[in-house]
């Protein structure tokens, strides 16, 4: 047997039937391309959600009063008053797995300056809050201990607030705004942070000393949430347990009674959203799998039909001296050439689709080697098998039966 000759024969045969070759390759291209495209979009959105959640804070843990769920029913927690500044003090004193802690009280209202006003939320926090939530100062400074203790009327503003009530000409630092009737002096401006994973504007906020918000705006003694940072990513679970133990003992809860507060961590949110996006990736993967199947059936069909069509050709080749192996090799080489060319085009097509889609959806563009390899192998295997199998049947015929084949 002569492989050079057989390769020439195979190439000539493909050349004679360009349309059929293109159709077969199209099956491979669609199969490979869609798998690569879909999985890369799925993986991209997963990674983008993960990175956005990690942007929300550094190893962030937060405690809220009340149990959000009772007997399967979601309960509002705004009325619960179980968390207090004493809890914060206890955590600060006892917790070993926490590096930063801040109380949080918030309310919404109208920020007004001159004839401009803007509805936004004001958060009462301490200076550590910025680090916990990964906010950075663009200008100015954070509150001092002194300002917190004296219920100072100072605030730090987010970029969206700056845009809407200051515009571009005025330097906000040193200016005074009014919020729900109370004048607040701007001492700092936050850097822009953009939208979070759920599309919320993280720059539409005002930060003020928690004491000021608690007393002057809300007139309450409890706090609405505690934000903290675990000392490391790994200690996040230990930190949750620690917070629970400390607050339970603060609240003097007996064993067996439910918590009157709830602790959540960023890590939990990451895993929750990761599982959501994993489901999405699986869905996309299933769609891709169906495309792969459709592509495969396409290849299979064309190969089957073409061998029936080509049984006469096989008979003729055998009658002039081709043996069964020669015929099989020819069909195998044809199938391999189609698979390789189709596979390469499919890979390029898939990468192009995912590059475009991730660009439009502003997701990270991820090249998934496994998806490329897998889809390529599946399509090639289908192409080669269905090129080889019917050809083998034809090559086993008596030459005369193959020639006479209708």
């Amino acid at each position: 047997m002569n492989y050079i000759n057989l390769t020439k024969i195979a190439i000539n045969a493909l050349n004679r039937n360009k349309f059929r070759a293109v159709l077969t390759m199209l099956g491979i291209i669609i199969g490979v391309g869609s798998v690569i495209g879909m999985l890369s979009i799925g993986e991209g959105s997963k990674q983008s959600i993960q990175s956005e959640i990690s942007q929300m804070g550094s190893n962030m843990i937060f405690a809220m009063p009340g149990s959000m769920r009772r007997g399967g029913v979601m309960m509002g927690n705004s009325n619960a008053k179980s968390l207090t500044l004493k809890d914060v003090a206890a955590l600060r004193k006892q917790a070993r797995n926490l590096s930063m802690i801040s109380p949080q009280v918030s309310t919404s209202g109208q920020a007004i300056r001159g004839n401009k006003n803007w509805p936004t939320t004001i958060y009462g926090v301490n200076g550590e809050y910025l680090d916990i939530r990964k906010y950075e100062l663009e200008d100015g400074r954070i509150f001092t201990e002194q300002e917190i203790n004296s219920l100072s009327k100072v605030c730090i503003v987010g970029q969206t607030v700056v845009e809407n009530i200051f515009g571009t000409e005025v330097d906000p630092v040193g200016q005074t705004i009014r919020y729900s009737g109370i004048p607040l002096k701007v001492i700092g401006v936050l850097k822009e942070k953009g939208q979070n994973g759920m599309g919320m504007d993280q720059d539409d906020l005002i930060l003020a000393p928690y004491t000021s918000v608690q007393r002057r705006l809300l007139a309450i003694t409890h706090i609405q949430a505690i934000y903290a940072s675990a000392i490391s990513e790994d200690s996040s679970d230990a930190a949750i347990e620690e917070i629970e133990t400390i607050i339970r003992s603060q609240h003097k809860l007996k064993d067996g009674t439910d918590d009157d507060f709830e602790v959540r961590s960023q890590a939990e949110m990451v895993s929750m959203f990761t599982s959501v996006s994993n489901n999405m990736t699986m869905l996309l993967g299933a769609i891709a799998g169906i495309s792969l199947l459709v592509g495969g059936i396409g290849i299979m069909n064309i190969m089957f039909v073409s061998v029936t069509e080509r049984t006469k050709e096989i008979g003729l080749r055998m009658s002039v001296g081709g043996c069964g192996t020669d015929i099989l090799m020819q069909f195998l080489i044809e199938a391999v050439i189609l698979s390789i060319i189709g596979g390469i085009i499919g890979i390029l097509f898939g990468l192009l689709v995912s590059a475009l889609a991730t660009n439009v959806l502003s997701l990270p563009f991820i090249i998934m080697e496994n998806a490329i390899l897998l889809s390529f192998l599946v399509c090639s295997a289908i192409g080669v098998f269905f090129g080889w199998y019917p050809a083998r049947k034809a090559a086993n015929l008596n030459p005369i039966d193959a020639i006479r084949h209708e």
Binding site: M1, N2, N5, K8, I9, N12, R16, N17, K312, E313, L316, R317, M318, S319, V320, G321, G322, C323, G324, T325, D326, N398, P399, I400, D401, I403
Partner: protein, 250 residues
Amino acid sequence: MQKTIIEVKDLKKDYHVGEVTVHALRKINMQIKEGDFAAIMGTSGSGKSTMLNILGCLDKPTDGTYLLDGVNMAEMNKKQLAQLRNTKLGFIFQSYNLLPRTTALENVELPLYYNSKVKSKERRERAMHALEQVGLADRYHHMPNQLSGGQQQRVAIARSLVNDPVIILADEATGNLDTRTSYEIMELFQKLNDDGKTIAFVTHEEDIARFMKRNIVFRDGLIKTEMTVDKRHNATQLIAELPVETDIDF
């Protein structure tokens, strides 16, 4: 004494179609010697094609022995049979059987592709030479659908010649052609035979059979008569005597 190219002893071929058994060949004994030009004749269904397919190693007999160039075909495996077809036999089909969308030259080259001893330069030269022999050298780059029936049959003949076989087997090679073209093909065969080629030619037409040296007449799967042609036709002469083409008046 001439060399015996083909020797067939007590050859039988049955076809089973459902319950029915068709005895296509019952008991055939025959020989074809080197340089022979034998017509295999007979009515439709008498077993001519069946015989030729077996001679061409395209089909296997049910029983009996077939010696080609002294070698017993029953002892050959599929691969060896393919090699024999490739090097010793040239087969011509009634329906030409050219590869579509493939040039005349490439069609003629086809058998040599399956012979790894022949390098591509030699392959091209031998195919061109075979096309010259059938008078189609100037059409080497034409596709089958750009050629007339007679020209396609010439390409098929060139393909059967290209491997320099010990025998050429032709099944109704003139069956689809008009008289003049048939005679032209016969002229070609006579020339090949004059140059020493052994030829077995299946036909049911008396006048075609008279171009050959010997007639073997089949009937119901048996050889009815075998005779030497006494007043043999000369194709070149007959073509010259054919009436010049005129418009047909009704």
